[in-house]
Symmetry: C2
């Protein structure tokens, strides 16, 4: 009767296209989404395939197995995040305070991007099974950020803008609340304390509070 569905209908789109260059990226992006929602074990490769717009078998043409796909996804996402962070990096010639302010804005944008929270959760969830991935993340993202902040702080101390703190400590004291607030803001429906605040407000609060903590010592009021 009607034309069989498996024959190519004339003048129409083919049922699928050959896109060997695109596939890895498509699969990795879909993997981040699905793994991010369900975790490694509960995520189904069929779902990842569907989300990427292809079939499960195709995934196995590009990745040897589920675990390796997970590893590659984490590495790929981390590397992409680093690249994006460094894209338009420019050494601010202004004061340490200005440089630090600029860093905080960038950092907050990064933490509020759609990829950060899922990746954070996945890495922590699988920290026992993939300690190498956790170390990779800790070194390339956390420690890298710490070094950058510490350098800015150290400069600020030299110039007298900031009080003489250990720059490494001060760096941790900056990133920790930023990361935590980033997580809370990703789940405003759960965390009431940030529910009614905008991202911009939270950033302001973080910045104000932090600068108070590192501002150059002052003479206490007489008392």
């Amino acid at each position: 009767m009607s034309s069989p569905s498996h024959s190519t209908p004339q003048g129409q789109e083919p049922r699928w296209r050959r896109l060997p260059e695109e596939r890895p990226r498509q699969i990795l992006n879909a993997a981040l989404e699905v793994f991010g929602e369900h975790g490694l074990a509960a995520a189904r490769l069929d779902d990842i395939a569907k989300r990427a717009g292809l079939s499960k078998g195709t995934i196995y043409l590009y990745f040897p197995n589920k675990e390796e796909l997970f590893r590659e996804m984490v590495r790929h996402t981390v590397v992409r995040q680093i690249e994006e962070s460094e894209r338009d990096f420019e050494v601010t010639s202004g004061s340490a305070t200005e440089t630090l302010t600029a860093f905080m804005r960038r950092y907050w944008t990064f933490l509020r991007s759609s990829q950060f929270a899922p990746l954070f959760r996945l890495i922590h969830a699988e920290i026992h099974n993939f300690p190498d991935l956790a170390r990779f993340y800790a070194e390339e993202v956390i420690a890298r950020g710490h070094r950058l902040v510490a350098a800015i702080i150290a400069r600020g101390i030299e110039v007298g803008e900031f009080r003489p703190v250990d720059p490494a400590v001060a760096a941790r004291m900056l990133t920790a609340p930023f990361v935590m607030h980033g997580l809370w803001c990703t789940h405003r429906d759960c965390f009431a304390s940030v529910a009614k605040k905008t991202d911009a407000q939270i950033l302001d609060e973080l910045m104000q509070f932090y600068f108070h903590a590192i501002q150059a010592d002052a003479v206490p009021r007489t008392g």
Copy 2:
């Protein structure tokens, strides 16, 4: 020939005991360990049973299914943590600074206990599948802590010990770095920045830095 091994050997210990009162607790404790290591999906009920010193079938005498066991485990652990935190709670009659110092010590001990990190990871990993549990945790642990800290801070501001910050903001700025450092310290092998520090050192750093941030405003040095 020899006596069959499945018959009770006379005058010896029974192969197992009936302990209907103890079972739920044993199972929940084992569940926290195994879920904490593998996550909900990858954890095997056989492993939980073995860790609890009983067989899988027994679990189903006390919990209807895996998911409900997970829910109960989270609720049970959260409730126990709250109870432990409030056990020897006493309103310090000293200054706000002293009260806050005492709180910080208790809070840090809590964050460094063996139950905190696994629970944190599990709740964040399953936040999509169990938003009710996440809300329960956020309200009963996070928000409760925030209120307590905010009250102390507010008192300190009134008396003039602390500068006039929004107590709610200050509370978040305290718990956030504490939690984050608690997590990092649980995985010192991954996070180099805290690898060489003891728990006590980290606590000192957290306390010193925080008190600088909320200390009463002082007259800046002339310049």
